[in-house]
């Protein structure tokens, strides 16, 4: 997210530019669009998880991506990272209140998506079919 000018948030019409809080909003939206972030949030909803625990649950994510995803979530204050200096080391990730708050609208969106999947996939099919003559 590094666009320069955007003019929305819930506005419209030709009148003119609005604010630039949109950039911030956009950065949050893109986190939702991020494949792994949403997944991780969902998995953390009912309690803290360890690193490899998450890795196994997701199946298909690389170590690298999981690390980056968790860092991003931590940076945004959505999850906490607590290290137990035992050996072997143990790190727990847990949703913050903020994270749990975000989970709600995200779930709503997910449910909408799930409910309308047939329509969307149908539309895609028709669109694609029409294009290849």
């Amino acid at each position: 997210m590094r666009p320069e000018n955007i003019h929305v948030t819930a506005s419209a019409a030709p009148p003119g530019p609005q604010h630039e809080d949109c950039r911030g909003v956009a950065s949050v939206l893109s986190r939702v669009g991020d494949k792994w972030s949403v997944l991780v949030i969902m998995l953390l909803i009912d309690g803290p998880r360890r690193f490899n625990e998450l890795k196994r649950m997701i199946n298909g994510i690389s170590q690298r991506m999981l690390t980056l995803t968790l860092r991003g979530l931590e940076r945004d204050g959505l999850v906490t990272r607590t290290v137990y200096p035992t050996i072997p080391p143990r790190v727990d990730y847990e949703l913050t209140d903020l994270g749990r708050g975000l989970a709600e609208p995200v779930k709503a969106l997910g449910q909408w998506a799930f409910a309308h999947l047939p329509e969307i996939e149908g539309a895609r099919g028709r669109f694609d079919a029409r294009k290849e003559e």
Copy 2:
């Protein structure tokens, strides 16, 4: 969006894999994460718009990206594209019922993001500050 295995949707816990509708859900979520798509949807909420009208309203989007974004939305059945074979040509884009439906949870998410921007940016600032010693 071409991951292979994901195990969520609203689930959790170690139990086991779920379905693979998640891939579909993920594809919808990534559309929301897409910077431009959400913007365009918001702009179309109160009526149809022409191509260049959208282009001007967004300011910063390239012609290419606007075209691609609109194609994507059209493909998913979220917007309709109607061509008036006048000269010069005129093309209107309008939200479908499905598109308007999607706009709702998206707005909810946008409002949450807007409301919690301060917290998030604060968290980011603290996180970044801590890292550079």
